[in-house]
Symmetry: C2
Subunit: 354 residues, 2 copies
Amino acid sequence: MMVRESILHLDGYKAGKSIEEVRMKYGLEKVVKLASNENPYGPSPKAIEAFKSFDSLHIYPDPDPLDLREKIGEYAGVEADRITLGAGVDGILENMFKLFVEGGNEVIIPVPSFPYYHILTKLSGGVEVRVSRREDFTVDATEVLNSIGKNTRLIIICSPNNPTGNSENMNELKDIIEDGGVMIFIDEAYAEFSSKNLLDLAQYSNVILARTFSKAFGLANLRIGYAVIPEELRKYFLKVSTPFPLSTPAKQAAIAALDDREYLKMVVDRTVAERETMLRELKKMGVRAFPSESNFIFIETEFDSAYMVEELLKRGIIIRDCSGFTGCNSNHVRVSVGKKEENDMFLEAMGEIY
Amino acid sequence: MMVRESILHLDGYKAGKSIEEVRMKYGLEKVVKLASNENPYGPSPKAIEAFKSFDSLHIYPDPDPLDLREKIGEYAGVEADRITLGAGVDGILENMFKLFVEGGNEVIIPVPSFPYYHILTKLSGGVEVRVSRREDFTVDATEVLNSIGKNTRLIIICSPNNPTGNSENMNELKDIIEDGGVMIFIDEAYAEFSSKNLLDLAQYSNVILARTFSKAFGLANLRIGYAVIPEELRKYFLKVSTPFPLSTPAKQAAIAALDDREYLKMVVDRTVAERETMLRELKKMGVRAFPSESNFIFIETEFDSAYMVEELLKRGIIIRDCSGFTGCNSNHVRVSVGKKEENDMFLEAMGEIY
């Protein structure tokens, strides 16, 4: 029984190596994972408590819970009817591709960026149009606008961008939104770590702006994402969504996490402070590390990325080899900002290697 | 910004009314929901405990956990490498459609059956080919085989069938599998309530057999489904799956639920006993209720289904109006088998209406 032709040539999403795998393979006791941009402080204790307070696991969850949408609406400064929920930004992306992209449609992606955009483009039968970024990895509006053709259905902008860490300029994106005449998807999964955000752009009728509870809110395991969308699109998102994207305990955890702003601030402040320390130390070593508005750092090493990753694995540190990301080269790696002791371990290892 | 043409005409999945909605609308204190085929006893207490024993919510879950696949493999009598996981049978179905169905492909569905099959066929750009069932709602192999054309990619068989409650005959399905030459999807979400199951058919290289933790195992809220598949398909399922279909707490709950067979037996025994009592009582009233191998009962009422549903709502009982299901008529409703006191409330109300 053959699967569809386009599936045969598809690369699936590659998750990071687990701590357990590395511990066993290298016979190490202490292994730290700085590969998946997780929040090392975990979620607010109140979110964990809320998660555990629901026992009726035999009842189907609410397909589109208003209480969470209202709470997110408050946080993002929009009405609840402009919020759509999904199983992580991944779930939002899947719904959006179902809505806008079919065979032969073009999707513009400034590269490098998050690999799942490329996978979904191929899965949907769409054609990926790659646009280069500037030296500092920002998106060049002129380049994007010049790539728009009559089959273009979607432009995907990630800000702060994974894996390069830079944020986009609001005015530059306005040009694309106002002159492009197509749907723009803005992935702000890492927005909380940035000094600026692009929420104001969600006022445009051709913008979908996605966010997540997986990063600053520390709930990656539960897959909770949302998007600010034009109100008239909400019914279509519901039509194409998996019927029950969020469990009730996950929903309760998200609400409690949103209520604990003090905890969120602690996570962001510590992460930003650690990030800047790491950048400073890396520069001292002569490592080419790029400025970041996120909870990870993009590095162009002198060595082959596979060698770099392997040398760090031997020392118990898992980072991400980015050489397989479309638009990256064989020297690119990405390291997440962990807790101080994890980052110190990474920096010490880098000192040895360099 | 326009969504794809095929989305405009799509009916989304309609979840059942919630108890809270009905309580408010009708000003009732006691409302019972017999509309979503939930397990009224809940999951094993050990599953709830396992669910709550995981605190690292900030860490991404394992994309394809071997421990759960091994445990399911034991339960289903197959190797772990023949198990694929998904967010409910819904998630398995979504992956399967991505693998096999694209624009213009035909999907054969004996009707009536589970509405989500129709939604996914339309979403994928496929063409739905409806096949009538026999008087007792079983699938007629000859009818199905006659419907296969050169564009047929998938045949979907639900057994026990939702909403009609009947199970399929193994030999009848063998004819379809052996002579059809296309992929057969068997949805056994309700298998645990049936006197027979179709697991042996999963030995064929053109069969995908899906099951769930949402029904007999009482974990509907957590969306955990699996399928027994030909081993060579596993890599393709992983390629098209959402990267992290199951949270770690959900996975742990599923493992604990599988370990508590005694509890499972209690749930199934009570449900089956209650179902038979309900059927007996309904027949006494002259209600046309069909035999069931599941945890729900299909009824052809003398009244319009909307009237029937409304009369029951006034009395605090939520059942499912099936008149909107493809292949049902305007007298069809479905009632879930609840706990004794819930079923008694339903039977009493039916006595008043009839």
